[in-house]
Amino acid sequence: MDFFRRFGVTLLVLGLACIPLFYHNEYIVHSVLGKVCIYVIIVAGLDLVVGYSGDVSAGHAGLFAVGAYASAIMMWKLHAPFPVCVIVATILGALFGVILGVPALRLKGPYLAVSTIAFGIIIQTFMNETVWLTKGSSGIREIPRLNYFGISFDGNYFLYIIFPFTVLALLMKHGIVTSYWGRSFEALKESPIAAACSGVSRFRFKLSAFVTSAALTGFAGAFFPHVDKYIGPPTFSFELSVSFLIMLIFGGTRSILGNVLGTLFIIILPDLFNFINDWRLAIYGGLLLFTLYFLPRGVVGLLHTIGDRFIPKPLPGSAAILAAENLKAGIEAVKLRPEALQTPIGDSLLELKELTIKFGGLTAVNKLDMVVKRGQIHALIGPNGSGKSTTVNLITGIYVPTSGEVLLRGNRITGAPDRISGLGIARTFQNVALFGDMTVVDNVMVGLHHSFKGGFLDIVLRTKRAKREESDARVRALALVDFVGIGHLAEERAKNLPYGKQRLLEIARALGSDPSLLLLDEPAAGLTSGEIGEMEAIIRKVRDAGVTVFLIEHHMDLVMAISDEITVLDFGQKIAQGTPAQIQADDRVINAYLGTSGTGHHIPAHDAAAGSPEPKP
């Protein structure tokens, strides 16, 4: 299957490469197809930002202009050889990507869109005003001819200059999006917090997507002066930025075929119908709106839908599922880092010292002291709003404490969630936070983020190292999926899983980061009693594998059955700590949380759960 696909694509690429030999219409081959080749690179780059990362750039025309002008000016003023121009244009594109991306990508929301639009206008101003450099509104016509090996590449043969690079750019994009980079982009788009707690640096990967995209756009720009042997400011307008977006959305995001089809269609459209020129913008705008709502996956999505109807598809990833079932995925699926074994069982692993956080006037957690010992299941209980989830958010770096400290093996830990994850603390979420559009196994592979050491070049060139890391991670991920008992669902999209399985998947993903300490925030909330039993077994299995478990839970029978130690919070303060038996007998706990049976007498230990304020399913 894979072989045939590759063979077909190669044949198609070679076939397209023969066009200039048989078809000689200069306008179509040189101008239109040349432009298509250049724009496809840009649209594929834009896909990294819009399709994978979920941000909007409406300033790619500005980046394109940077590349085109850099290349043209170097050829004209410095008589630089064309390949040098291409390299400089790419570097400049990347540089502007950093300048724009660093400020805008720290925030969620429309900030990137706003600042890229502004960037496009600044570039317009510079093109028009710096006459000594850009010749202002008259544009640059002094583009030298392209002659190599005695052949002129100015006519239809220009396609032989750009086409190979278009193919290379698309291969590069394919390499990026099928690697852990692509998964990180998507994970950050779907749930930034969960991605960060899996060790993915939001800033690094959002920026990588944008800078790669900007570099590709600068690269494509370098070729543009040779299309018309002229460049001028009007080409690089805001409308061009919007056109790139329309090409991308109309063709279909997250698909190379979509990038190509969308670009081809939008470029050819005005040539097909004359009347379109007057209403060009309105038609583009209408087309974009139509696509957004009626073809959310673009033309390619439509093709897939039609294709699926006529061509029976093999069961999703059946090979992978078989592999999962053949794995003897017992406790070995859970791995411990070498440093995790340094602490003897029963010694302090995590310590909170006078941990405090204030939100305005409210002290959510107040001078909390606590020790979690290695190898134990330690529960944190307390009424709603007593600061349990806030404590977990403080430990995982989502909140910064007002005062006090968190110590792991005696060392103070601070920093963003992705750093804390790297230290061996993993977590699940009270409100399930999965990467819904990704498959179960890909979710866990995001958890295995730390196991990927290959850099950008490894991914793009698909080195042995990158391939090995990828296949090792997949095997590990399948083993973990199997460990929590959902191996048969490995290739299903996470959002299609029933709620109980989603909670299990969160645990598998958390275990992917090889944690010494696993924080479970209400893992049994919303589960049926049967599922709670399953959850209990899994939590024990995780502990038996050597991972220390810190558990927030309202189901008292579960808490009392599996905990080695319990800490009780009320209004952000610790009111008790001890074994389950001690906690059940504690007056303050009974008053604050467990409740009395009405007579004022202490309830017997085995009935304590009956006093739980949370109704049980």
């Binding site: 925030l107 929301g109 706003v114 600044i122 101003t125 805001f238 705008g285 974009l288």
Partner: protein, 300 residues
């Protein structure tokens, strides 16, 4: 004219320009607070408002009451456009649950509006006269000249913003807007019809933009492309002032308006737009929540 008088006039023009930006940005902040979305085609709605006033006023000096009528008509057209915006762009986009959709949908509505205006009114620039006339008022015995439309802009923009702030604080619907901005779910549980409040906030926001078009028309020309740049500068003002701050936009608007006038006079007209956008990027780098915005606490 001496240097200081010229500077005062320059600053005054900057303030007037800044108030226009502040006014549009004020509209962005209203919808961003209630719906976490804003209209990326606000500048084009402003342009349509200006064309409404052109249709009503013609090019002769209009009488007072005709001008007031033009402002009201623009407000109504703005509210009507908001309904279209809601049904065509915002509501369907929010259903998809991604920021990408609403940003793209509102951008595409803007380019449609621009194209339609171009087909209806052509690509000409139409001058329009303010009801105060075009001769400058001479103050201090001719030492200082003040341009009447600039006075009108400052007064009108301030009136609109104050009126909405009063409405937000005093009226029940205004308080509902504040409640939805603070917490949608809680507001909904208190019996506030959240979709209606959001729709209302868009109507206010778009009306403000369309009225802004009438205010600014005597200073600029009326053309199909007049709004694009104004709209973008107003985003910059929103972000500089803080997208979740109420009146930070005024400070942001004044900073941008003044920097623009000063750059145009003392550096070069061509570069007048640059300092504001550079400032935008610097602010995002140094104080990402804006000069007056508060960092939001995210819940997990």
């Amino acid at each position: 004219m001496n240097f200081s008088a010229e500077l005062v006039q320059l600053l005054f023009s900057g303030v007037a320009l800044g108030m226009v930006y502040a006014l549009i940005a004020f509209g962005y902040n209203i919808t961003f607070s209630t719906s976490r979305t804003l209209n990326f085609s606000q500048g084009d709605f402003l342009m349509l408002g200006a064309f409404v006033s052109l249709s009503i006023l013609g090019r002769k000096m209009p009488a007072w009451h005709w001008w007031v009528l033009a402002v009201l008509a623009a407000a109504v057209v703005g509210a009507f456009l908001a309904v279209i915006l809601q049904y065509v762009a915002i509501k369907p986009a929010l259903r998809t649950g991604s920021d990408v959709s609403w940003i793209l949908a509102t951008i595409s509505l803007g380019i449609v509006a621009r194209n339609v205006a171009e087909r209806v009114w052509g690509t000409d620039d139409y001058p329009i006269t303010s009801p105060f006339g075009r001769d400058p008022w001479e103050l201090f015995g001719g030492k200082l000249n003040i341009n009447p439309p600039e006075v009108m802009i400052i007064v009108a923009a301030a009136l609109v913003m104050v009126a909405f702030e009063l409405f937000r604080r005093k009226s029940l619907l205004g308080k509902a807007v504040t409640a939805v901005a603070a917490d949608k779910d809680a507001a909904s549980l208190m019996g506030i019809n959240v979709p209606v409040v959001i729709a209302f906030s868009f109507m206010v926001s778009c009306s403000i933009a369309a009225m802004g078009g009438v205010f600014v028309a005597p200073l600029t020309f009326v053309s199909s492309t007049m709004g694009a740049l104004l709209g973008v500068k107003a985003y910059a003002v929103s972000v500089i002032g803080g997208l979740n701050s109420g009146l930070g936009v005024i400070a942001g608007g004044l900073i941008l308006g003044l920097s623009e006038q000063l750059t145009a006079r003392y550096l070069s007209t061509g570069y007048k737009d640059t300092p504001g956008f550079v400032l935008l990027i610097v602010i995002l780098l140094v104080k990402p929540d804006g000069l007056f915005g508060k960092a939001a606490i995210k819940k997990v």
